[in-house]
């Protein structure tokens, strides 16, 4: 039986009110236990989880408030932060994440959202095009020559022709060498 905020009425018979009041107490107990430690717990009121339902629009905040909420981005839930005075919302999360340890090519995200790519490309050739996944528009790409133990060869590398989520590897000479890359896309 769901919560009824309009009981008891002045002329309700006592047995009816007894049933309704008890039902309300039970409903409160059940509903409050969602996301919270139960009312009968020593930690009553604290949270177990924040299970956030999607909001149809951004909330409003006054000068002393912030808000965290869930809003769908192309149908996918994302966590948003709104600063005080209903400032422009910032998307905190992104579905783009792959960070299993020891994986040669990984990606995660930062607020914005921006996707941060990192990894190593083994033995690429001069002029090779690298296309990163998931697809974004790259804002930054940096390369560093890896696994070099002496300064006997000129193997400085650079990223050129950055377009979409792709870039081209350019070596100062034709020597092949592993390349660390760090890229940021949106």
């Amino acid at each position: 039986m769901s919560y009824n905020p309009n009981i008891p009425q002045a002329n309700d018979p006592r047995p009816q009110s007894q049933y309704q009041i008890k039902a309300n107490y039970q409903a409160i107990n059940t509903v409050f236990a969602n996301n919270h430690e139960p009312l009968t717990s020593n930690n009553q009121g604290m949270h177990d989880v924040l299970l956030m339902r999607p909001q149809g629009s951004d909330p409003t905040t006054n000068s002393a408030q912030i808000a965290l909420y869930n809003k769908l981005v192309t149908g996918i839930p994302a966590l948003f932060f709104m600063a005080a005075n209903s400032a422009t919302p910032i998307q905190l999360t992104s579905p783009n994440i792959s960070t299993a340890a020891n994986q040669a090519q990984q990606f995660s995200f930062v607020a914005g959202p921006f996707v941060v790519y990192g990894g190593i490309i083994k033995n690429p050739a001069n002029g090779d095009t690298v296309t990163l996944s998931p697809s974004t528009t790259l804002k930054y790409v940096g390369l560093t020559s890896a696994n070099v133990t002496a300064n006997s060869n000129l193997v400085t590398s650079a990223a050129t022709s950055i377009s979409g989520s792709s870039f081209t590897i350019n070596f100062q000479n034709a020597t092949k060498i592993d390349i660390y890359y760090l890229a940021i896309g949106q």
Partner: protein, 214 residues
């Protein structure tokens, strides 16, 4: 014999209770409800904003939460053997019970600053530590001896990537790098080599970023 603490009772009143007898139970329930709701929330009797959250205290959970379509779960769970410690960290689980991931991998606590190296670190979701800073490399002319970049805190189990950029525009050659053999499974040193053969300055300063799994 101690008096038991009052506790919320969802099973009152009983059918044959008269309200005069139940009044004390009603007060207890209202008070306990008020007390519980006041944890993490603006109190029920506040003049404004009643029901809004004040802080969010998340109690450690034993497992991951079920997350239905359209939902995001935010919760805390114990992480063992990360950064040489066991701690509670915040996890996210996306809709449809997708794979949960650690949203906050690590707490910032110390910075390594000395005359040749500044180091800061932060994190990315998924258990990635993000070291960054500057390092001054004093390369010896004609020598292949590297300059070590120490990673602090020394908790990197896998180096994902790194990036270097020369600060001095007259010697804008990024260095070569190699990983030093890990000690006890931890990478704590990157060896930096001079890449400029045309003109080898005695000192080069680089901005750097290193991403690592912890």
């Amino acid at each position: 014999m101690s008096t038991p603490e009052p506790q919320y009772n969802p099973n009152i009143p009983n059918p044959k209770d008269i309200f005069a007898d139940s009044q004390g139970d009603f007060l207890t329930n209202f008070q306990e409800l008020y007390n519980a709701f006041s944890q993490n929330h603006v109190a029920l009797d506040a003049l404004s904003s009643a029901g809004n959250h004040t802080i969010i205290q998340l109690l450690e959970q034993g497992g991951d939460f079920q997350t239905d379509a359209g939902e995001i779960s935010v919760y805390t769970k114990k992480v063992t053997n990360q950064a040489k410690q066991t701690s509670d960290q915040i996890f996210l689980r996306y809709q449809g019970n997708q794979t949960a991931f650690q949203f906050i991998p690590y707490q910032i606590y110390g910075l390594n600053q000395n005359s040749t190296q500044s180091q800061f670190f932060t994190f990315l979701p998924g258990g990635i530590l993000f070291y960054f800073g500057t390092i001054t490399c004093r390369f010896t002319t004609g020598s292949t001896k590297p300059v070590p970049l120490k990673l602090t805190p020394a908790i990197a189990k896998y180096i994902t990537t790194m990036n270097f950029c020369a600060i001095d525009p007259t010697s804008n050659s990024p260095p070569y790098v190699s990983l030093q053999t890990p000690m006890n499974g931890i990478y704590d040193t990157i060896n930096i080599f001079n890449s400029s053969l045309i003109s080898i300055p005695s000192t080069q300063i680089f901005y750097y970023v290193v991403l690592a799994n912890i």
